[in-house]
Symmetry: C2
Subunit: 157 residues, 2 copies
Amino acid sequence: MSGYDLALGRTLELAVLLHDDIARSLAAEGLTRSRAHLIRELHRRGPVRQRVLAHALDVSARNITGLVDALVTTGFVTREPHPTDRRVILVTLTEKGARMAEEMDRDRRELARALFSGMRKDRFDAFTEGVDAILARLRETAPKRDPLPVTAGGHGE
Amino acid sequence: MSGYDLALGRTLELAVLLHDDIARSLAAEGLTRSRAHLIRELHRRGPVRQRVLAHALDVSARNITGLVDALVTTGFVTREPHPTDRRVILVTLTEKGARMAEEMDRDRRELARALFSGMRKDRFDAFTEGVDAILARLRETAPKRDPLPVTAGGHGE
DNA sequence: TCCAAACATGATGCCGGTTCACTGTGTTAT
DNA sequence: ATAACACAGTGAACCGGCATCATGTTTGGA
């Protein structure tokens, strides 16, 4: 019984620590979780319209405007006109934005090494299995998000 | 190499999911992470002065005033005068606050069961070992907090 | 011509956090 | 005793982030 509680306690602690650690290192670059998420999404999908981002981040369109505003003023992103549809603005990663996206990837890989390297293989495997199992259970409770009926978007994806 | 990355990805996902899940269920009760933390601290320590809370939550004294304000208006907490030192106010859990603290404990235990029950013991053990190992590594990077030179506090602890 | 999509803007609200100045209260040393 | 210092907490003013709704503008298309 109490073993579970203890394990959950540690797991939550881990969750909070990781979460805060990420938030901290993002803040050091002038980013936040939302903004970083936006950058990552952009990096994977290429230039897209804001509506797509709104859906991907699961927030209101208004909020995307705000996030993009912030990223524009900090130079991570630009708003480019859509080649044919003049209503549409394609949010596009700048050089700096792309570099940042890659740096975030690198940081992640570094962190991965820092956390896991030197761990015995059997323990590592068991750990990842455990994580997966818990993720699965957690997702059963978590809310679902219906897919965007992809209109005629920016290219990418 | 890439195995680490994948594992970290899952772990981060777990961290975020857990974090957000907690935030959500707290919000449902009119709480936030900070306020819940304050309640937990109060539940463990008994009535204490705000300064102690400021230290425990690692925020400014002023901020504690704000958190306590909020918890007072929502009825989780009261401010009681210190019996002898009239400068001091002892923040005290109300009945409702105490119930909430215990409910949070219960919820935790429930969550623990939901996540871990049914997991094979060897995997469970390996998982917790993995969590501990990662926590240890993570803490090496994390900032430290010097202990409060316990003055003449509220009772408890 | 007129509707609807895509986005912008303004007004609000909440959260969490800060600094600075100030009051009221103990403590201590002269 | 009293003057000087230390401590607890508050009020005011602020910053920044995330999120909302309502409303406005431009533009593509039926």
